[in-house]
């Protein structure tokens, strides 16, 4: 399984993401620049954190019209796993691949600290290696991670089991303590916490590694075991 880490001008967690996949997970991975017009050779797409295009206008807003996002939308429609972390999540929201939007943190402060997350759904391709209700420690680092959606959307998220991670101690004011959601099909995951920064005990936690292992395992079961 081969991953692409999409790099926008202003991405700054791309190296962490690359390291997590290559060195900790042990999978193939390449950086892909934002003006790329083809992602066919990749099986999984990773949108890293940072401040794409300087977060001008709104976080993630400018990125939605980059060449590569047309291809990311295509990959998502084809059912490939797409993971957006932090600014990557904001880009997925602005692009419309995930419902809702981000507001400034309730405290108006940039928060950078480990957070306890509850794994709410273990049937997604991103979470099969976790236990339902498992509490994991994953760091957050954001100023705009206050997830918002209207009542109707929230009901849909609940009904379709799209809420994958919640905060135990909501740090930013997100609706329903939401830390991560998938699309209806379950192949696109956006989350504010950084699993790529929790892949080794040296980093304080390796709870994020199972997320990447889940993606690979699901992919192998679908494509390798079948042939």
């Amino acid at each position: 399984m081969k991953f692409a880490v999409i790099v926008f001008p202003g991405s700054n967690c791309d190296t962490d993401m690359y390291h997590a996949v290559k060195d900790e997970l042990g999978a193939e991975v390449e950086y892909v620049w934002h003006d790329a017009t083809n992602l066919n050779q990749y099986d999984g797409i990773l949108l890293p954190g940072g401040f794409s295009y300087g977060d001008y206008l709104r976080s993630g807003a400018i990125a939605q019209f980059s060449n590569v996002m047309t291809e990311v939308v295509k990959a998502a429609r084809e059912g490939k796993p797409v993971l957006g972390v932090c600014n990557g999540f904001q880009i997925l929201l602005e692009t419309g691949l995930l419902p809702g939007a981000m507001r400034r943190n309730e405290s108006l402060k940039f928060i950078c600290q480990p957070e306890e997350l509850v794994v709410e759904n273990t049937s997604t391709i991103f979470t099969t290696q976790y236990e339902k209700g498992e509490v994991i420690s994953v760091p957050v680092a954001h100023g705009e991670g206050n997830y918002y959606c209207d009542e109707e959307t929230l009901e849909q998220l609940k009904a379709n089991n799209q809420i994958v991670f919640t905060y135990r101690n909501n740090p930013n004011g997100s609706v329903e303590n939401i830390a991560g959601i998938t699309n209806e099909e379950g192949n696109v995951l956006g989350m504010m916490p950084h699993p790529e920064r929790a892949v080794d005990e040296l980093l304080g936690s390796k709870d994020g590694l199972k997320l990447f292992q889940s993606i690979v395992k699901s992919w192998r079961e679908r494509y390798v075991a079948a042939t």
Binding site: L57, Q64, F65, P99, G100, A101, R103, E106, N146, Y148
Partner: protein, 84 residues
């Protein structure tokens, strides 16, 4: 040429923590009559005249990029200006 002035604000139903912080600061300076503060963005676009529907074009730009309809509202004003 047209000069289009676009005002983007958070929707009424969405809490504006920046606005709240500014309001509390205004109260501290003694402006107790202030009941609400909403912070938004102001954009000025200059457009060439042409064979297009101006309102349709502005609405398209506002709803797809300049504002996020999930959390923001917008309104705009149009002025005709002479090209310099």
């Amino acid at each position: 040429m047209y000069k289009v002035k676009v005002y983007v604000t958070l929707r009424e139903s969405v809490l504006d923590p920046q606005g709240k912080a500014v309001m509390s600061s205004l109260h501290k300076m003694g402006q107790s009559e202030v009941e609400d503060v909403r912070i938004g963005k102001y954009l000025e676009l200059t457009l060439q005249k042409g064979d297009y529907d101006l309102d349709e074009k502005i609405v398209s730009m506002c709803s797809k990029l300049l504002s996020n309809p999930v959390i923001e509202d917008y309104r705009y004003e149009v002025e005709e200006v002479v090209a310099q």
